[in-house]
């Protein structure tokens, strides 16, 4: 297939693609109108259940003021981030060394290497002592 034929194929498919996009928009709108838009709020019990699924217990936990995300230290030494995903929760746990943690006044940022689990940015009124200790410990390791 030469470039001209390839471009002609795109031109031919353009109306179909535009129509498909419109149908997708209609179906998404319909899902929204039917009320499939739950707003789950994370609780400490949710984090405990997710920690249990990791074979650990919660050592410390922090839930964002909007209830949409959580950060926890687990009894097995790992850290866990949980994020509300519509009507469900997605969580990721990893050893502390496998994540990047940044604690600034009023804000916690935490990221795994995996692009499929975007970084957590959480507003904090005041960082609890365990979190400050965790971040300081990680910084010292980084410097060492």
């Amino acid at each position: 297939m030469n470039l001209g034929a390839w471009l002609a194929q795109w031109v031919g498919e353009a109306p179909v693609l535009a129509g498909s996009a419109a149908v997708v928009a209609v179906m998404v709108g319909m899902a929204w109108l039917l009320g499939f838009r739950a707003k789950l709020m994370l609780s400490e019990a949710d984090l405990a259940r997710l920690a249990d699924a990791e074979g650990a217990a919660l050592a410390h936990a922090l839930i964002a003021p909007d209830g949409r995300s959580g950060f926890a230290r687990l009894s097995n030494g790992k850290v866990m981030i949980a994020r509300v995903m519509g009507d469900d929760v997605s969580a990721r746990a990893a050893p502390l060394a496998a994540m990047r943690l940044e604690l600034t006044p009023g804000r916690l940022s935490a990221a795994f290497a995996d692009l499929g689990f975007p970084p957590l940015h959480m507003q904090l009124e005041q960082a609890p002592p365990w979190l400050t200790e965790l971040a300081e410990g990680l910084n010292k390791q980084g410097q060492g």
Binding site: L17, G35, F36, R37, D88, F117
Partner: protein, 306 residues
Amino acid sequence: MAEPPFEIPPIITYAVPGFVLLIIVEMLYIRFFKKGGRYETKDAATSLAMGLGNRVFGIAFGGFAVLVYYAVYQFRLFDLGWTWPVLVACFFAEDLAYYWFHRIAHERRWFWASHVIHHSSQHYNLTTALRQTWTGTLGLSFIFWLPLLYIGFPPLMVLMFQAISLVYQFWIHTEVVGRMGPLEAVMNTPSHHRVHHATNPKYLDANYAGVLIIWDRLFGTFIAEDEKEKPRYGIVSQLGTFNPFRVAFHEWIGIWRDVTRAKSPRDALGFMFGPPGWSPDGSRKTSASLKAEWAARQQAAATPAE
């Protein structure tokens, strides 16, 4: 005779209105009967966007797979024409090729990087069926069908049965339909495919069938749905995003990062072609390790305490 004696309709295009109608019916059923699964607007939007993106990437790169099909067909062992026995044989051969493609797409990270997209929703409904890869052709997933061309099945016949298989697999992505009696023995059904999409350790790495479940029964990968254990859907390391671009490319970028940081060529190959979750030190979880942990827990629970 490579060309069909009849005009093959655009099977998937013709099926699309049916897909749309069934999705709407399923949404209404779940909304008004409060059973048969879950919908979430953002999740459905991502699944549908992935389906649309799959079409875009198909236009851009799908022709490459067809070219390779015709190239391999030049070296065919037999001249199999468009006769009824050949059509029946091709149906079974295509379904067998799909089984092995699908199984290896779960067992080897290179192919999983494309296929993970289809499993990335934590929901299981008809929109999940449309959550399709954007990188299948670029990831060379089509190579699993090349033996069929080499044997001598006409390329258009293989493509036709691939399309039929894809259309068949749409309706099995639902929790609305329960068990289907004697059909469960032979056909891939919603019940069998729910098991395939589940992340419960008990259900991992099972039911790779396309149309016929006989291949799983034959090759020892069949697991029946257990009414006592409801499937939990998604992937072992759930994604934390509805962003279609992150969904489409996260595993490829993960492979790239791992390979560029690998300490030896052996490790690099392991990151590319080992099982998903493989790592040189075994610190990450593979489905085999998850299953082993689960089996150990089951055994410990069954052993009476002294």
